[in-house]
Every structure is written in C-alpha cells, then in structure tokens.
C-alpha cells in the first residue's frame, strides 16, 4: 500500500496513486517536475526476455572443404544473421530493459557513478589514438606526450612526484602501490609484516594487503566514525609496512587528524597509502601528498568519469613520492635528454622497478578518456566538480526522511533505513525511475544507505531522487518486499541464484 504523502519540509513531495492498489506507473511530485516511470519490457513466448540473436535469426552455414584434419572440422555451423534493423532493435531493446546513468540518477555510494561525457569517447576513437603498442618510441611521440602529460596532471592533482599509468584497475592499482611500498622496505633491508586498515575500508584493501603477503591489522573506527588515534597508536609498530586509508572516509567524513595519523605511521617507519576511491571530494581543494600520503591510486572511472569497467578495461594509475619513484612499474615515460632527433619522450625502466603489472603500457583508451576529461575541465573545472559533488550530497541528505548519523560529510553520506530493510528500500526505489544507493555497507551504520549523487545531477534530478527516497520511506514492508514491480525484471531470487547458479548459456537448455 502506498501512502499518499510523507512529511518533509522542502520541497513537499508526494505520490499520486490509487489508494487501494499499486498502479502500473506512478507519479512523483518533486516540486519542480512530475516523473512517471515504467520500464520497457520486451518478451517473447510469454515470460522469456528478448531472445538471443542466434535464436532470432539463425542461419546455417555449410563448411566447404577445409585443409584442416577432418576431426577438427564440422560440416555446418549455425550463426546469427540478422539484418541491420533487426540488429539495431535487438540492442536498443536490451538497453531499454537496462538502467544506467544515461537513464536517470545513479547515486550508488562509494562508486562515484559520474556521467561519462561522450566527447571523451570521440577522442578515444580518433584514428590517431590507435597506435600499435609495439611501435618504436620515436614513431609514437604524440602517444608518449599524452602519457607524460597525464602522469604530470595526476601527480599534481594528488600531490605526488611520479605516476604510473600501467595498472589496469583500482584494485590492481592498490596491489601495485602496496607492491611498491614492499619493494621500498625490502630495498632498505627492512622486513615488515603488517598492513593496518580501518574496519570501514573497501574490501579490496584487505585483499590487496593479503595478496602482497602481509598480515592485516584491522583498525576499529572511533565513535565519531573516523580513525581512533588511540587504536591507531596501539596497532602501529615496527612491523607496520603501511596504513591504507581513504579520505574523506567511507562515511564521507574528512579525517581531521590526518597529519597526526601520518606522523604516527611515519614515526614507526611505515608508509601511508591513499585509496583514491573518494578523491572526487578533494579535487582542486586538498591533495593526499600534502596530507602526508606516500603512495596512492587514482580510480579514473570514479574521479575522471571514464566508464566503470564491470569487468571491462579500466585504469588505476598509481602516484608516489620521490623516494618511491625508483620502484615504479616498467616501462615508464620520461622526457629524453639531449636532441638526437628521436623525439622528446621515451620509455625507460626505473632503477628498482617492481616490473610489469599489465601488458604494455596500461589500458590506453581509458587513459585517453581521463586525459580528455581533465584537460576539458582544467584546474577550475575540477575544483568546481568537487564543490558540486559535496553540495549535491548535502542538498539531497537534507531532503530525505532517513537519518544520517555521521557528519559533516562531503561527497557522499550514509543514511540509515532504520526499521526498514535497506535492500528492500533499494528494490523499492527502482520503481521510481532512479538507481538506489549502495546498501548495508559500511556496517558502522545500521541498514546503511550509502548515497553519492555526484556533481553531475541537477537540482531537478536531486529532487526526483529525494522524492523516491520519500515514497519508499512511506511504504509498508510487504509492498517493499515485493518490489520492484515496474521494472523489466522483478525481484531476483538471490537464494536459488546462489544455490544453483547457471553460469553458462548452456545451462539454460537443460532447464527447459
């Protein structure tokens, strides 16, 4: 049952619905716009979604004589052969049954789901951006120049002295960064065994430290949601190789004692690692290097609006201070000395390099997009992005009926669903044409709704988001447990999906 209204000072959102039954679409009165939402659903034979191309337009191709041995060949092969309109419709239908940042607000907390400006795609698709990685340095000077400038931009943004572009993702960047820290300690014959990580950190931090061969020391959060200095002093010792930290932290709170934290770790001989997950809040305002961090990674898909990978190519550049620069992965780009006609830039191997962490020079097209974004925004644009990211999060938090226990927060906030189940709240929000926040994490907030609207949302779309929060807040548990009902796919049966997963399309056949 939907409630007609809920109480909220400004603006007064409400829902117009028939009181007795849930409508097939509903109207959100956001104060400035009226949003109705019902997702397209293309099915075939009743409840089957849009068929595969191979099912829609199969064509049997006969195999002519082949020079290969007979046991390696077949007589015929079934291939999809749709005409172009059919092909276009197929993918359009799939996209209509999907929801992305191009559909509406996407406040998935900690993920920084920025809109990806399409001009960056155009630039990455330029023929001049596509060079074979095995070409000699002297023939790809433009590529090297772009890499060198991007290294420089990122270093200046993070307050670092040198940056590698090679790691293919954020987690790979973490592994690279901790690998550099380890190589540094080993180079100094300083054998250390532990990495200290706050309990609210991203799971990848723990995995990185363990994969690098360190024991993980988990640091409990203080009552204010920040690093507890006493707990840190107790956790840090001569065994501490590094402290991994993000700032603002997972609750969106700035670690005010960061200089003290840095001193504690440095005094014990450890290094300070910055997880770039929340760098979007600091752009143009504060730099990890100035706070005392020695090594950091950048999530270009968060901070610099390149597409989120979902398993596809990403990039997680790593920045370091001068003393760690000799350990960077190889190859690295630098300016050439002298003028021998072979160009201004070259690849080289840093003196104590940890080696390669990815093929060739990293995922180049992603790096080109990050470069294009940074160049387009410039210093003032980046500072404006962080300002609006923080403003948007604070504006939205003021307009939702859920309590936000920790503050003041920056680019994101963690609200509590209270007596409601956060996962049900998320499913309910899907029915209102918005993507829900991250749920049930961090565990420092009960039934967490971790919300990060990003700088890209207008006031109008923030109001739509607030109205969606408000509508779900007013719904009863039974209704929410059945949500979503207005999306192409309804509530997913997570239990049977986990107990009897079908991991290949071949499993679908056996199910018939």
């Amino acid at each position: 049952m939907l409630s007609g209204h809920f109480d909220l000072a400004v603006p007064p959102p409400g829902i117009e619905t028939a009181p007795s039954s849930r409508p097939t679409s509903l109207t959100l009165d956001t104060g400035v716009s009226r949003v109705r939402y019902k997702q397209a659903s293309w099915t075939d034979d009743g409840d089957r979604y849009e068929p595969l191309l191979s099912e829609k337009a199969p064509k049997t191709v006969d195999i002519e004589d082949s020079p290969l041995p007979e046991e390696l060949t077949r007589d015929s092969l079934e291939l999809p052969a749709p005409a172009e309109p059919e092909l276009a419709r197929h993918y359009t239908r799939l996209s209509q049954m999907n929801y992305g940042v191009e559909s509406g607000p996407f406040p998935l907390g900690s993920c920084t789901m920025k809109y990806n400006p399409s001009f960056t795609e155009d630039i990455a698709a330029l023929p001049s951006a596509a060079v074979h990685p095995a070409r000699p340095d002297s023939t790809v000077q433009g590529t090297l120049a772009l890499s060198y400038r991007l290294q420089d931009y990122l270093a200046r943004i993070g307050g670092m002295d040198a940056v590698t572009l090679q790691p293919p993702a954020g987690a790979a960047g973490e592994f690279t960064g901790i690998g550099i820290a380890k190589a540094h300690h080993q180079h100094n014959d300083d054998d250390r065994s532990e990495v200290v990580i706050p309990d609210s950190a991203h799971g990848t931090n723990f995995a990185t430290a363990a994969m690098a061969g360190y024991d993980v020391v988990e640091l409990p959060s203080g009552d204010d949601g920040r690093v507890d200095i006493d707990a840190l002093e107790a956790a840090v010792s001569e065994e501490t190789a590094a402290l991994m930290l993000t700032n603002p932290n997972t609750l969106g709170l700035f670690e005010r004692d960061i200089e003290r934290i840095a001193d504690i770790v440095h005094d014990a001989g450890g290094l300070l690692y910055y997880d770039g997950a929340n760098l979007n809040a600091l752009l143009g305002r504060a730099r990890p290097g100035d706070m005392g961090f020695d090594v950091m990674h950048y999530n270009v898909h968060k901070t610099f609006a390149t597409p989120h990978g979902g398993g596809g190519p990403g990039a997680g550049p790593v920045g370091v201070t001068e003393k760690l620069a000799p350990f960077l992965p190889a190859p690295h780009v630098r300016e050439r000395e002298g003028d021998d006609g072979r160009g201004d830039y070259e690849y080289y191997r840093p003196d104590h390099s940890i080696g390669k962490v990815h093929g060739y020079y990293g995922n180049w097209p992603v790096l080109v997009k990050a470069f294009a974004y940074i160049t387009r925004l410039g210093d003032s644009g980046l500072a404006d992005a962080s300002a609006k990211a923080v403003l948007n999060a604070n504006y939205l938090a003021e307009r939702i009926p859920y309590e936000v226990p920790f503050g003041p927060f920056h680019h994101e906030f963690v609200a509590s669903a209270g007596e409601q189940d956060a996962a049900d709240v998320a499913k309910g929000m899907l029915d209102h044409g918005v993507h829900p926040p991250t749920t049930k994490w961090p565990e420092t907030v009960a039934e967490a709704l971790m919300t990060e609207p990003t700088e890209g949302e207008s006031r109008r779309s923030l109001d739509q988001l607030a109205a969606a929060f408000g509508a779900v807040h007013g719904e009863d548990d039974g209704t929410l447990a059945a949500a979503p009902t207005r999306t192409a796919a309804g509530r997913i049966d997570q239990v049977s999906a986990a107990r009897t997963p079908q991991l290949s399309w071949q499993a679908l056949d056996s199910d018939d």
């Binding site: 239990v495 986990a498 107990r499």
Partner: protein, 127 residues
C-alpha cells in the same frame, strides 16, 4: 523473537554448538546464527581426519548476506562430515541442531568443554 537453544548442548560466543556423546562430539551452528545469516547458500567444511583446534576457524558458511568463518568449540580429529550440506545448504536454516549438523569430532581434551557457555549463558548472550 525467541530462538531455540537446546539445554543439552554447549555453546561458543561465536554461535557454534557442540553435543558430546562419550568421546564423540557433534558440531554445528545455532538457530540464532542461521537466522542472522539468512538463507545459507554455500558451506565449506574440513575433511575427515583433519584436526580442529578449539577457538580456530574450521569452515565457512556463506549466505546471501554474509560470508562467515565457523569456529571450533573443541579440539579433536574430524571423524565424520555432513556432506549433505554441500548439496542442501538450506538444512542449516531448516534444522540447525538436527540435519544441519556439520562435523563429528573425536574429542582430544574433554576439559575444554568446561570453557564453553551453558545453554543459559548463551541464551543471555543472544537476548
């Protein structure tokens, strides 16, 4: 909500139970634990012949909400493993003290049982 806490079992604070019959002990997780976890989808247990050490993790239970280590209430050698849990992890939800048992162990040191919580003490903990 009230949870089943059988009087004849001993408990760990981390929500495992142990039932002893002579030198043999049967081990599982409690009704409260399965309720907290929600629908269990995967169980990882040691092999027969493996040794358990009291207080140390011996297995993993994964639900749709969380992945949790399971801790040994007592030390000893594994003599039987409830392999039906591998195909039907839902037994942990349906019957945690019965068909959802995990291991049988030949007890090394019966004195360790005295360190465990009684049903009454465990009930106080989960109120």
């Amino acid at each position: 909500m009230s949870f089943n806490v059988p009087d004849d079992l001993r408990y760990l604070e981390s929500h495992e139970w142990v039932h002893t019959d002579g030198a043999t002990a049967r081990v599982g997780i409690t009704d409260f634990a399965q309720d907290e976890l929600g629908d269990v989808v995967f169980v990882e247990l040691p092999d027969g012949g493996d040794n358990l050490t009291a207080g140390e993790a011996f297995g993993v239970v994964e639900s749709i909400k969380a992945v949790s280590d399971v801790y040994a209430p007592i030390s000893g050698t594994v003599t039987a493993v409830n392999e039906s849990l591998f195909d039907r992890p839902e037994l942990l939800n349906e019957d945690p003290f019965g068909d959802g048992w995990m291991l049988e162990v030949e007890v090394g040191d019966e004195g360790e049982l005295d360190e465990l919580l009684s049903a009454e003490e465990y009930r106080d903990q989960i109120v």
